[in-house]
């Protein structure tokens, strides 16, 4: 039981660490070598598009978008 708790803490420590090293920290733009870099760029475009949809929603009075 005790060992199990120690293992769990270690697992969580490692997960937290991986999350930080892979997703946080100083970024060198243009030089990152990550296998999925291209896809991330696609997402960036997607996210921008979505946020503009949201802004559009706010700009409208709200009534028109409800009449689908």
């Amino acid at each position: 039981m005790h060992d199990n708790v120690v293992d769990k803490s270690k697992d969580i420590t490692i997960l937290e660490l991986l999350d930080r090293v892979l997703n946080k920290g100083v970024i060198l733009t243009g030089d990152i070598v990550i296998s999925v870099a291209d896809i991330d760029l696609v997402y960036l475009g997607v996210k921008l598009m979505l946020s503009s949809v949201e802004t559009m929603d706010q700009l409208k009075t709200g009534k028109s978008i409800l009449k689908l």
Partner: protein, 115 residues
């Protein structure tokens, strides 16, 4: 780096949350991987994610309006019909492409999760 960096938690509580932390840290698995072999389902995933996000936005906005009390009974009735049909259609599509709700939350890399 095998040391333990947990500074505080209630004894025995880690079991219940390790799955959640795994989800949070979802390193690579929720990233969309487009390859020639899975272009179909990969694209379906991307498109349905967008559709689902917008559907949820619409639903949320609709509920705000209903809550605001400015809609007539008739309008609420029609709204309910529309939203219900949308949700059913969405379920159909998810089933068709073998996607779960979890699949429809794409990890945006440095930007975090979509939903």
């Amino acid at each position: 780096m095998s040391e333990n960096k947990i500074l505080f938690n209630t004894a025995g509580s880690l079991d219940t949350i390790s799955a959640d932390i795994g989800n949070l840290a979802n390193l690579e698995d929720s990233k969309l991987k487009l390859t020639p072999d899975n272009a179909d389902s990969g694209l379906a995933k991307l498109v349905l994610t967008l559709v689902e996000l917008i559907r949820k936005l619409v639903e949320k906005q609709a509920m705000r309006r209903v809550d605001g009390g400015s809609l007539t009974e008739d309008e609420i009735e029609r709204l309910g019909e529309t939203l219900m049909k949308l949700e059913m259609k969405m379920e159909e599509l998810k089933k068709h492409f073998n996607l779960t709700d979890r699949d429809l939350n794409i990890n945006l890399g440095p930007l975090g999760d979509l939903m």
